[in-house]
Subunit: 694 residues, 2 copies
């Protein structure tokens, strides 16, 4: 996409490089990058009038020009000569601390095949792209149409990530102590370790971002999201997150309606926000208790049964939706297994038995052993420490209270706060230690594929976070067996977390954007030619989707685990999510650097997490029903003994789990048309394998 040498004098306008998105910003297309400064390509088909800046490499402030030149030439050199076959641009001038990177057509197309992306074939089907057959794919001449922006940017990162030193060599301009590359060493990793590269991130495209924002969060519509545009701009993982958020918000409508009906229409069904006066006994079978205001037995039962089956149906239908989205976005046949291993992977150099390529090898059984014998016990240990902390807290609180009642002094009064403070400090420290341990454990497990790495890492953090969130509620429900307290706690958690979320996610960003960004904006308007790159460099990096997903998971947990004690949960969550969608959209568009987003074919481990939660919810709901004073009263009136109630509850639990499993099994995980498309491809590749050997 670089121009030929003889056309290399002119300037061109880039449409990228984020500023802000005021109405007057149509003229913010700036003359920033000198066209002639892009590295040259030899391949004639890759020559282009306009080069689109895709990725920015942020170098250290004190970078030596010789290092920068070396890096630029490395990026531009063909893969055969150990380069990345990309296009590099030195930014404003030769001494600046950035390199802007783009990719020529051939590199993009070859990487598209390597990644296993599906693209529209001339017959309209989505077919795994093949470089040899490129002429038969639609839009193959226009990279802007053929690949999404996110894909083009990911490909640049992909190529940069696999830059390896061809032989042992010194990095020019870097002290000898840090700057010696071993043969086959990963260059980008080494440069980051040596402090030469500070960050690599994709550049926003101002025009597209404005368009996307208008369709997404500035408009008047409450429900729809432009999911295809989101995926095209931000990429697979983020596209899947917002698709799920969308789907899940819709799915909240039935339980919300049910909750409203049970609370306001059915007699005896009200407890929403009212004063809960009932007193539950200490144990399960302590006999009759005074009951005032809890939901009616039938309402209780209906709510519990509904939420148990609802969670399975939601996840099964999401799987179907997920696979059709995946097909639509061409992500159904990713070939990560057959691609190069992720940069952090290490092992003894050898021939990959599957692909026949030279690469580091690490036996699968050894990884399994590491996971099974080290990671699992260590994670278990940390979960144990969480429980220990909670036990200690309750114990300490009881001690402090006893001491205060005995002495009643000012000192003992202050001492009352000690357990809470100690517990908060303990939890925070534990959390920090755990995060480090989880990352290092996952690195040490040495996963070959990035997705496998992510899944294992996410699972570890997820388990811990989830445990932290729910330990108290489980403690109240299962150990204290105090239903009114659980109800109070749940209501306050839901309301407080939502208020806090709305604050941090909507109000604060809005204020920051309106008031604090204003001076900066002025300055930019004064100086329209200033490098807009600076604006993007000043943004904080995107923190990832973990926090967003865990928020949904915790919501889902509140709803399915404990909803029968507080029927309005779904209504509150529904309200929350409608604003959540806009807030998340605003956040990702305006407040952070654009993140890289790998092409993925599903939500990965999060899907499993939601499904597991669905099964745990059966146990929790059955238990809550068992605890419910009304249910017990009802049973005792019917002459059923306490022992038989328990046994009956166990039976119900087992039957419900069976029903959920049968439901999950009966509902196919992909719609018929996706299955047919998938089988078509399998059939064709089987045929191709047979004919190839002729």
């Amino acid at each position: 996409m670089t121009s030929l040498g003889d056309k290399g004098e002119g300037h061109w306008e880039t449409t990228a490089l984020l500023g802000d998105e005021d109405e007057g910003s149509v003229q913010t297309q700036t003359k920033v990058l000198n066209q002639g400064s892009w590295t040259q390509v030899s391949c004639p088909c890759c020559v282009s009038e306009q080069v689109e800046p895709l990725v920015l490499i942020q170098l250290s402030d004190n970078i030596q020009p010789v290092t920068k030149r070396w890096l630029i030439s490395l990026i531009g050199v063909s893969e055969r000569d150990g380069g990345a076959a990309l296009l590099a641009h030195p930014g404003e001038d030769e001494c600046g601390d950035v390199i802007v990177v783009s990719a020529p057509r051939c590199t993009l197309l070859k990487a598209t095949e390597d990644l296993g992306l599906c693209k529209k074939y001339r017959n309209g089907d989505m077919v795994a792209f093949s470089y040899n057959d490129r002429e038969n794919f639609s839009n193959v001449d226009d990279m802007q149409e053929f690949l999404t922006l996110a894909e083009r940017q990911y490909i640049v990162k992909y190529e940069l990530d696999f830059l390896r030193a061809q032989k042992e060599q010194k990095i020019p301009g870097v002290p000898e102590s840090q700057g010696v590359l071993k043969a086959r060493e990963n260059i980008c990793q080494k440069l980051e370790k040596a402090g030469v590269i500070k960050d690599i991130f994709p550049l926003h495209d101002k025009q597209r971002l404005t368009d996307l924002g208008r369709k997404w969060y500035s408009g008047k519509q409450i429900w729809g999201q432009p999911l295809d545009s989101i995926q095209a701009y931000f990429g697979g993982t983020i596209g899947f997150y917002f698709s799920f958020l969308d789907f899940y918000t819709w799915a909240l409508v039935p339980p919300a309606i049910l909750g409203l009906v049970l609370t306001f229409l059915l007699p005896g069904g009200g407890s929403g926000g009212g004063v809960v006066k009932e007193q539950a006994g200490e144990g399960v079978m302590e006999g009759m208790v005074e009951v005032d205001d809890s939901p009616s037995v039938s309402g209780h039962m209906v709510q519990a049964m509904f939420s148990m089956l609802w969670s399975t149906l939601v996840m099964e239908f999401w799987k179907r939706r997920s696979s059709s989205i995946s097909h639509r976005w061409g992500l159904l046949h990713l070939t990560e297994r057959f691609a190069e291993p992720r940069p952090g992977f290490h092992g003894t150099l050898g021939i990959n038995p599957v692909t026949g390529r030279l690469e580091p090898l690490f036996p699968e059984w050894q990884r399994q052993l590491r996971v099974g014998l080290v990671s699992v016990p260590l994670v278990g240990l940390f979960l144990g420490l969480v429980v220990l902390g909670m036990t200690g807290f309750y114990h300490g609180e009881a001690l402090a209270q006893g001491f205060h009642q005995d002495s009643g002094s000012l000192f003992s009064g202050a001492l009352l706060y000690l357990p809470s403070v100690a517990h908060i400090v303990y939890t925070n420290m534990l959390g920090n230690v755990y995060r480090t341990v989880a990352m290092q454990l996952t690195e040490w497990e040495n996963h070959r594929e990035e997705s496998s790495f992510q899944n294992h890492h996410t699972t570890k953090v997820l388990l811990f976070t989830f445990f932290n969130y729910f330990a108290v509620l489980f403690h109240i429900a299962f150990y204290k067996q105090d239903l009114p307290l659980l109800r109070k706690r749940l209501a306050s958690l839901l309301i407080v977390t939502q208020l806090v979320n709305q604050c941090t996610e909507v109000v604060v960003p809005f204020i920051v954007d309106r008031f604090f960004s204003a001076p900066q904006k002025k300055q930019q308007e004064d100086d329209p030619d200033v490098d807009k790159l600076r604006a993007q460099r000043s943004l904080p990096p995107f923190p990832g989707l973990f926090a967003e997903y865990i928020e949904l998971l915790v919501q889902f947990g509140y709803l399915s685990l404990f909803s029968c004690v507080y029927p309005l949960t779904a209504v509150l969550l529904l309200l929350n999510n409608v604003t959540e969608i806009r807030a998340d959209a605003y956040k990702i568009c305006k407040l952070f650097r654009k993140p890289f987003s790998a092409p993925v074919s599903n939500m990965g481990v999060w899907q499993t997490a939601f499904e597991v939660l669905g099964f745990v919810s059966v146990m929790s709901n059955c238990w809550l029903l068992l605890l419910s004073p009304r249910v017990r009263e009802f049973c005792l009136e019917g002459g059923i003994s306490g022992r038989n109630i328990i046994l009956f509850a166990i039976l119900v639990e087992h039957v419900l789990i069976l029903v959920k499993m049968i439901l999950a099994f009966m509902i196919p995980d992909e719609p018929d048309w996706v299955r047919i498309k998938r089988e078509q491809i399998e059939f064709h590749s089987m045929q191709a394998l047979g004919q190839q050997k002729l």
Copy 2:
């Protein structure tokens, strides 16, 4: 494999055609089939000096010669002209009621590709066979080496099964009312319906059978089985059955040792066969009971925990073994999905969207609906009827006993037997009705693939049979909660069923073979030229593996569900299985017609059944531990209340299920080397797909 016309005069000797396997039978190779009577092939590569008779079509006694000639020509005609491209031989003479069928080389090779069988490539790998690339496969010139006997015979059946009328036509020699074929109608099905074809079955190969028998059951070795030879001779399904039987018998060794140790070495661990005197209360928490002779608490616990984890480990390791067997036998890449639908499949004629072939189509969602909305409820109804029958039986027995005690007359004494008799009659009738219903339901579900049909049918029958076997034990364990009775019942069931099995499977066959077959044998010796085909036609058809598998499943059920009440179960089962292997082998070799056996890549639904049983066993064992008087005594001594024991048992159950699931998840389902081979093939076919479009 038929000779050219000019060589067609001579006679040749067939090595097939079972007689018996005395030492003197080496000379039983008989001149039966006139070589020149085989239909001719046009393809020069398929011409062979010797044609091996593979399959026998048994026609009705009053077959018209014109019908027989028509059928023979149909079998011999090429597929393009609507035939089966096989070789047919009229048997002894033109009027006889048999047709012997064989297959020429090209038909065999093409069908090998269609079925997706893997064969040894010249580089030593197992590769899905491709007709175009046939020269690069080992032994491709010698069909006897290249394909196993079972495969060759299955291919003949496969070709016969897909004979379809090309246009509407009359079958010659059959009355008009039955003998009109519609266009695309399945010819073999029609002929069977019209009574023209009575049976189609593969022929035994005397020499190979003798060799196999010598290695398998006549030898002195107790453990090993010649699994490869079994698979080669009898085919995939039977090969998998005996492999599993082998594996499972080995797997019984650890629990058998544990059982022996617990029973004879540990103090308080004995109850094996002794008089069980303890009296358990009616309910769970009725307090202390007198305990005499049950196994010790720790022994009890150890046995239960062991059997719960053992069942998971066995099935996980079997899966690994199964996949490596499957690879070894070239069955890992079967392409049933892409082949023609099974003969019984019907639907509207259309283009298969996957393969692009014209065939009947039936939408998947409609099948799912039929299964979900009709089959599942109906099966549930029948299971309910079983329970109803059992309840009625217990009720009736109580009534009769009451009546007898009141009146004490002879009539009332006779009446005591009425409930049992009624129950037996009811169960038998129900079983017969259910078998018909299950078959018709499965037909009506209209499965496209034979394996899917088999799996659904087996599941239905399996559920019912299993329910019938275990309903009484579950009733005793869960409803009556009478542990001593359960122990007595289990011991007697184990001993009685084993005695009965040994009788029916070993002794009776032996007697039949030794004494009743003797006269026939003599006659054969008198007349060595007699058509040995008659001997095979007189054998009963093989009843299938259902009874064999269900026997293993019930064993596995006794062992994992209730073993902790009777620790010697595993020892008895181990003894049983060692003889079972020989008995089954003898049976299948000598007492039945050889069955067709489809190439399959695993045990199908039986594997799932064993796994499900493993999970049910956790519930059952936890419950039995809860019932155990010793455990309750132990807990009460430790000051744990009855309520908390139940809750603790539930907790233990859930944790154990979790542990089993984690174990199942952690142990990979296939060994590393099989995974690599599989991924290699996926990689190659992906590459082939990319290159094919050049």
